[in-house]
């Protein structure tokens, strides 16, 4: 993963190193040139001193040596009309003639196995030529050591610069880290704006965009919720009117009014469909997950079966529940809807007088729910088709076929998904019939799964 901090540290350090190198190079070259000039001036000074004292020089080379300092790199000669009057620092084999041309000024010459910088000077009063020479390598080493000593701290300072940059960049990026922390700590259903800290100018834009996005998201959730609430009210009240009036009609009706029976069935079907559509619209998966609680699926199943019992009884259908205590995390309302849909499907497709068995097993890290019946069932080769239809309906809410019997399955699929469960169709354990099995993560594994995620 790329890191802004690492990037900045590397790039800044590289930039500083490059600039240091270039300035050091430039400094080295100009300093060397400057040192040359200084040394040359020094050479001329020595020649001046020699010229002043030239009268007694020939007799006392030792005095001269003291004047010039006793470094190994200095040599001089005094010539008078082709005759060497005095010399120091020059090897005997080079004494035959001047070590540098007898022309006033500087010259680079070779003698005694070294390269020398020489300065020649003519003294008109005494008609003497003075040649002062300095070894080039000594000058060079001297100059270089001075220059390197001033450049070295720049190089040694680089690690320190790196450390400081690391700390400074870290501090500079802290608001970003704080923002990331705040976003990370938000509950999935918390759409309140990010406002907890004073953002720097650069982040303010980002935070404004995030807050804007959150506001729009919240407004859209709110709209969806309001739609569901409004639709619930607008649809449920007229259905209530229909049911109450039907109740009154049926009470007074004689056997001849057979048309009332299908009317009642149609109203019930409409009621059912409306509830299912509302269920689908009511909440988003994120909001569901935020409302998950610890619950016992067996307890939920008992409530659902108790609620459905009158309508099963009316069709002379038997129902039984075989349940372990099955702790899991989920949304009780959603699970009730899931169980209701599965049991109603079994009741609808297996016909009157059939048996329905609901089994809930707590198997290791799974809670396995099975709803099976002894109806005609679905042949194995057609089960996949039912299943395909199932999933297509679930993934495409715009499918016009959805508002029919299929919607129950679409909702089952939706609810299975939000609980991280899986669903499969199989053989019932009765001689005939269909078994629908849903496997939920059990409470313990759901917990460890969350902390690992």
């Amino acid at each position: 993963m790329s890191s802004i901090r690492r990037f900045l540290v590397v790039v800044l350090l590289a930039t500083i190193t490059l600039i240091n190198f270039l300035t050091a190079l430039h400094g080295y070259r100009t300093s060397m040139a400057k040192a040359e000039q200084l040394f040359d001036a020094q050479l001329a000074d020595i020649a001046d001193v020699l010229a002043l004292t030239a009268g007694g020089l020939e007799s006392s080379p030792a005095v001269l040596a003291t004047v010039m300092g006793d470094g190994p790199g200095i040599a001089f000669q005094v010539w008078h009309h082709g005759e060497l009057l005095s010399s120091a620092g020059v090897a005997p084999e080079n004494l035959a003639e001047p070590v540098a041309p007898l022309v006033v000024g500087y010259a680079d010459v070779n003698f005694a196995g070294y390269r020398w910088r020489a300065f020649s000077r003519y003294v008109p009063d005494t008609e003497r030529w003075l040649i002062v020479a300095e070894r080039a390598d000594v000058r060079f080493n001297l100059a270089e050591s001075v220059i390197l000593e001033s450049i070295l701290p720049i190089i040694l300072g680089l690690p320190l610069a790196g450390l400081l940059i690391w700390i400074i960049v870290g501090r500079g990026l802290r608001p970003l880290k704080d923002l990331a922390g705040e976003m990370g700590n938000k509950r999935s259903d918390d759409l309140s704006p990010v406002a907890d800290f004073e953002p720097p100018q650069e982040l303010a834009v980002l935070i404004n965009s995030i807050n804007d996005l959150l506001r729009r998201l919240e407004a859209s959730f709110e709209r969806e919720k309001r739609f569901a609430a409004d639709a619930a009210h607008e649809l449920r009240t007229p259905i209530s009117v229909l049911k109450v009036q039907l109740h009154n009609l049926l009470r007074d009706a004689d056997e001849g009014m057979v048309a009332l029976r299908p009317l009642k069935a149609a109203v019930e079907r409409m009621e059912h469909s409306v509830e299912q559509v509302l269920m689908l619209y009511r909440t988003t998966p994120e909001q569901f997950a935020a409302n998950f609680t610890d619950l016992d699926l067996a307890g939920v199943a008992r409530q659902v079966i108790a609620a459905l019992y009158p309508q099963l009884e009316a069709k002379q259908q038997q129902i039984e529940l075989v349940a372990d205590r099955s702790p899991m995390r989920g949304d009780a309302f959603a699970l009730r809807t899931l169980l209701t849909n599965l049991i109603e499907n079994a009741s609808k497709y297996s016909g009157s007088g059939c048996e329905i068995r609901v089994t809930i097993k707590h198997k290791g890290n799974e809670v396995e729910l099975t709803v099976e019946d002894n109806g005609p069932g679905i042949p194995a080769d057609q089960r996949d088709k039912v299943f395909e239809r199932f999933y297509r309906l679930g993934s495409d809410r715009q499918d016009p076929g959805i508002v029919g019997s299929g919607i129950g399955l679409a909702i089952v699929r939706h609810l299975v998904d939000i609980h991280g469960a899986s669903i499969s169709l199989g053989e019932s354990s009765f001689p005939t019939g269909l078994a629908v099995t849903v496997r939920f993560p059990a409470a313990s594994s759901a917990n460890s799964g969350r902390s690992a995620a």
Binding site: V241, V244, I305
Partner: protein, 219 residues
């Protein structure tokens, strides 16, 4: 039993008035919160059926307001809202019962009977299912006219089952009731009570829904 129906939907109110009058109940209707509070203040009914979606005031506010003067007036809340939060808010505000629209008339009538008996003002304090009569005033039970001797717990269990005849009472809710009556509930306490009841009332009277709970079938 006099009932006040507070419902702003005229069509639903008309239907309910007819249905409840045919059950022999005396019922009045108002369509606004203001009128409801006025009627309750002047001519207090025995039971209020309150719709939460009123035009002039939130139904829960009406509920809280009437609770201040009439602590024991039974209120059955009717609403098109249905989420758990609404239900809790309704019961917290002092509703005695809660029925979501669209509801079954039979369910509404059963709830009204329970509320009426709880007040002891019901015209009939006797619940009859088949050959069994349960008198909620004298707390006695007869089977085919013969008195049956039931200990208190068994009487309470039978009352719950008979009040909800035709519906299944889950093991969880029955056991919770045993707890709330102060009984030390052994794991098979419920089965033992049911076993005793069956011996006294006939083995078919209370049906078992396997794994779920018990029910008394409507005659």
């Amino acid at each position: 039993m006099s009932i006040l129906l507070v419902e702003d939907d005229q069509d639903l109110a008309t239907g309910l008035l007819e249905a409840l009058r045919k059950e022999g109940l005396s019922i009045n209707h108002v369509g606004t919160a203001k009128a409801a509070l006025h009627v309750i203040g002047t001519e207090t009914p025995e039971i209020v059926i309150l719709d939460l979606g009123l035009p002039d005031k939130d139904g829960l506010d009406v509920l809280r307001q009437l609770r201040r003067q009439h602590r024991d007036l039974p209120v059955l809340v009717l609403t098109a809202r249905d989420s758990l939060g609404d239900k809790v808010a309704g019961l917290d505000s002092g509703a005695d019962d809660y029925l979501a629209k669209p509801f079954e008339m039979a369910e509404l009538l059963a709830r009204l009977r329970v509320l009426g008996r709880r007040m002891g003002t019901s015209s009939s304090n006797v619940i009859s299912v088949g050959a069994v009569n349960l008198d909620t005033t004298s707390q006695t039970v007869t089977v085919n006219g013969e008195p049956a001797d039931l200990p208190r717990r068994e009487y309470m269990l039978l009352k719950v089952l008979m009040e909800n005849a035709g519906r299944v009472q889950t093991r969880d809710s029955l056991e919770n009731k045993l707890y709330s009556w102060g009984e030390e509930v052994a794991s098979n306490a419920l089965e033992v009570h049911i076993h005793h009841l069956r011996k006294k009332l006939g083995s078919d009277f209370i049906a078992t829904v396997r794994g779920v709970g018990y029910t008394v079938k409507e005659a």
